[in-house]
Symmetry: C2
Subunit: 244 residues, 2 copies
DNA sequence: GGGGAGAGATGCCGC
DNA sequence: GCGGCATTTCTCCCC
């Protein structure tokens, strides 16, 4: 493909359409860190918000990228197309040296849809609020304090003996980080309420050995809880996903 | 574009070439969580390792995706192309209902290059090992214990008074999580070495207010350290050389 | 815009 | 494979 007409098309379409370019190239990045990627075949995508993604033929993550609102400059020089990308906000620079272009496609995509997602940590906390017996027969939830000034505790409550209880939920594996987090919240509540004893519970499907040991060390509990499955229930009831 | 020939091409190329499909579609996912994405225009990519990415015209991350080694099934039904993706290992399912295809491109990409990256947390720890004066005049590093069973302390050492020192490095902002982590390592060392006092240092460019408060509460220190910049140094050297 | 924490996080390395 | 943790994490939500 002719690099000169490629340059013109890129200049014309950047920020207006979603651009997909397959090319042999090398990539240099400098910003939050610094990186170099030697010559190889990749898919380069420039989205309508001027996000840049460079994908190798394997794995999920882009090998290089730039965030939204990046500025672009295209030059041809000695049989190469040089794409210079600069992001003011994040103080990042990226340069692609295109040695060969295999194809270029460009199209205005029309899509304002948001992903509807269920089974998150928030959903777990809400499930516990609505059905506190999941934790124990005598658990009384008080609040699902999310991003309040006071703290970020998933579920907060007390039991029949009047013990304050802090619950940290994790949708997958409870690891040492999760226990540290729980510990921090328990200590915050102890300090804020001026109480000596506060119960800590880690509610998740399973915990790692180190997390289990830490829970033990700090006198916390593990409660096996799985994230809710709304769509699966819907399916079982023979309803359509679109009804959700 | 004719959906029937689209189906044939997808069947033919999947896993062999990197496929890029621009299409109006809806997406249903069920696996670690559950999600639904209503009709809109997207770029669908199937990589040579059978990774699937679905990109909207904005933002960095794919709106839906499947990991490597996903199995595919393509069907046409009532003017729609249905792409069924199943991953055995992760027990995940995804379905794309393609209403309209704008373009389809496919190409075998040849690329085994690895990203060379500098300025990581590991580089920071190595920099401190080589040049301990960054921390203090009397800091003596002992080890950069990385992924040992014993712990994952970034830099471990002692000072002229014989105090043991644990350093946690962060390449960007030190936040409450980082202080919790440091605390955990300090406590591990106290227990393992049977010592009452161990110094904790958080080495990073800056810390958040809450992190600062926590550092204070636990008697830890903040040491301002920036990640190393190899390439930039090279550039400066080159410039200097050119200047002469 | 910064702080704080989740994510269908992903990827890497060690065991 | 799992565990532990960094990431140019990204994204969201609140202040």
């Amino acid at each position: 493909m002719d690099l000169e007409s490629l340059k013109v098309k890129l200049q014309d379409k950047v920020g207006k359409e979603t651009i997909v370019l397959a090319a042999k190239c090398e990539v240099i990045y400098s910003g939050r860190a610094e990186s170099f990627l030697a010559e190889g075949d990749r898919i380069i995508m420039i989205k309508q918000d001027k996000t840049l993604l460079i994908h190798q033929p394997k794995s999920s993550l882009p090998i290089n990228y730039m965030k939204e609102e990046t500025e672009y400059n295209f030059e041809t020089n000695q049989g190469e197309l040089i794409i210079k990308a600069h992001n003011k906000k994040y103080k990042e620079d990226l340069e692609i040296n295109v040695k060969k272009a295999y194809f270029l496609k460009s199209l205005k995509l029309d899509d304002d849809q948001k992903l509807i997602i269920k089974g998150t940590e928030r959903d777990m906390a809400e499930m516990i609020m609505k059905n506190p017996k999941i934790i124990s027969d005598d658990f009384k939830p008080l609040s699902r304090e999310e991003h309040t000034k006071y703290g970020f505790i998933d579920v907060f409550g007390y039991d029949s003996k009047g013990n304050l209880i802090v619950i940290e939920t994790k949708r997958y594996v409870g690891d040492p980080k999760a226990v540290s987090q729980l510990r921090r919240y328990v200590e915050r509540i102890k300090y804020a309420k001026g109480v000596g004893k506060v119960k800590g519970i880690l509610a998740c499907p399973r915990v790692t050995p180190n997390a289990k040991k830490m829970l033990n060390d700090f006198g916390f509990e593990f409660k096996k809880v799985n994230p809710p499955r709304y769509f699966e229930n819907e399916k079982k009831k023979q309803k359509k996903l679109l009804d959700f």
